[in-house]
Amino acid sequence: MDYFAQQAINALQLGSIYALIALGYSLVYGVLTMINFAHGDLFMVGAFFCFLLEKMIRVPFWLALLLTMLGTSLLGVLLELCAYRPIRHAPRVSAMITALGCGLIIENITLALSPYPRHMPTLIKNSITSFHGITISSLQLVVIGISLLLMILLDFIIRFTRFGIAMRALSSDRLMVSLLGIPANRIISMTFALGAALGGAAGLLYALSYPVISSSMGMLIGWKAFVAAVIGGIGNIRGALLGAYLLGATEIITVSLLPSTYRDLVAYSLLLLVLVFKPYGILGQPQVVRS
């Protein structure tokens, strides 16, 4: 029983990180119905940004978190402004390819600047608490706690603020919203900022939990989070959370039963299985085809 509780905590930790990234995919998809393939790389940039902060000026954890979120959100806005806005009315495929290209640019620039994996310094004093035979490290508590906090904050923003209401309106009818005088461009930029900030936070938390960071983690972890978003139903916030924790749990179970090389195989098979039976994800709605 203890073993399962222990694995449940591990799954919660991994799932929380996936959830933060998956939310970024879902937010952008909800507003623009476009898959932002570069989002995983924003997550990677978040980890590297935090690494640089700690190497150059040692800042406390809270400040590092805030600065990282600020940095990645700026990058997210820049990405939207330079690459996605000019092709917003182009065919969907163009947008998808542009996003894929932007992701590769960010990843390969990082690879060129830092060809070797880096070791992340510790930011939080890691103490281990034992509770009825289940051990929880303070790091795990921080990761899960901060993720939950950010999710609650996001929920609050989406539900109650003017920005959140405008965002939801935008995702249901983009044309009408512009006619009603809501600054659609500003809302879209802010959505990108919000998603990228969550991605950056996830990057930091990931780097603290599994402290080797490399330029390929955007592809390895970011795409996994994308899988989570799709499993839950992309564009759906609750779906993203559901998918992320489901994927986290599946991966932890896989790793504890099989050799760890089966991890990707099981994760992507789960995705395929879900899409075969629920083509729009567990909580997703079918896309309405507009001409």
Binding site: P91, M96, L104, I105, A267, Y268, L272
Partner: protein, 290 residues
């Protein structure tokens, strides 16, 4: 001899790239779906042909063995295209793209776990059977087959599906058969390219068929031009030559390529030869034949 080993290597790579590009253009350009999983078909072709030449029949004379291995590689890939075609009956667009991505990842991580083919260490000791005449032969065969397919009834069917699937179905286009054929032919051709690739490099490992390989093929297709055979040839040529010319840049070359892709999407989203053909590629029919 003007052709030294380096030039021959470049030429073979160019032709393999052109085959891949033609194959992806059939699905992405002519049928209008978005597949990011073509590296998976290539991997299946490469691995199954390598199994033939290394494990099953290494003693057969190469003149007989190699075409057989290439055909079996293509056939394996075509078989793998069937489930994807079935899935494409139900889903389109973004979700089909995701399914092809999942398919790619499953094939890649599946191969990483099969120790019979060397798992993630890679498949060693593949004989060097790919040479310029063979590659040229397969390149021409694939090109002619695809050209005939595109100018056939089925080619018109898949273009109708691209423009409007519901309308096409209402007009009596057998959308399912057309999709099935397209996926199978496209993956067969990709499998052929994979088999040639494996017997050129003599070493394959699962990570040489990851999403980056798919992205390379995508770059070629959208650089050269969607829904254009000439574009595929042009795209593969420009991509291969540029890749060689940019060698001095080192890792930064990998920044230039996607940057080029993004610029292309911003300023010329259909690519250089999108929806157009050089005249020698076209099949001209005399109307009085009917």
């Amino acid at each position: 001899m003007i052709l030294n080993d380096y030039l021959i290597f470049i030429l073979i790579t160019l032709i393999i790239n052109a085959i891949l590009c033609l194959s992806l253009n059939l699905v992405n350009g002519y049928m209008g779906e978005f597949s990011v999983g073509h590296a998976a078909f290539m991997a299946l072709g490469a691995y199954s042909s390598a199994i033939i030449t290394v494990k099953i029949a290494p003693t057969l004379p190469p003149l007989f063995l190699f075409p057989m291995a290439v055909l079996i590689g293509g056939a394996t890939a075509a078989l793998a295209g069937i489930p994807l075609a079935f899935l494409s009956f139900k889903t389109r667009g973004d979700y089909l793209a995701i399914i092809t991505l999942a398919f790619l990842m499953i094939v890649k991580s599946g191969l990483e776990n099969i120790s019979y083919v060397g798992a993630s260490r890679g498949f060693l000791g593949i004989p060097h059977l790919t040479n310029l005449p063979w590659t040229l032969f397969w390149g021409v065969v694939c090109f002619l087959c695809l050209r005939n397919f595109i100018y056939s009834k089925w080619g018109r069917c898949i273009m109708a599906i691209r423009e409007d699937e519901i309308a096409a179905e209402a007009m009596g286009v057998a959308t399912r058969s057309a999709k099935m054929m397209t996926f199978m032919i496209s993956s067969f051709v990709a499998g052929v390219a994979g088999a040639l690739f494996a017997h050129q490099l003599q070493f394959i490992n699962p990570s040489s068929f990851d999403i980056l390989k798919s992205t390379d093929i995508l770059v070629m297709v959208y650089l050269g031009g969607v829904a254009s055979l000439s574009g595929s040839l042009a795209g593969a040529t420009i991509f291969t030559l540029l890749n060689q010319l940019l060698q001095p840049l080192g890792i930064w070359r990998m920044v230039v390529m996607p940057f080029l892709l993004v610029l292309l999407m911003l300023f010329r989203p259909r690519g250089i030869m999108g929806f157009r053909e050089w005249s020698w590629v076209k099949i001209h029919r005399d109307r009085s034949d009917h």
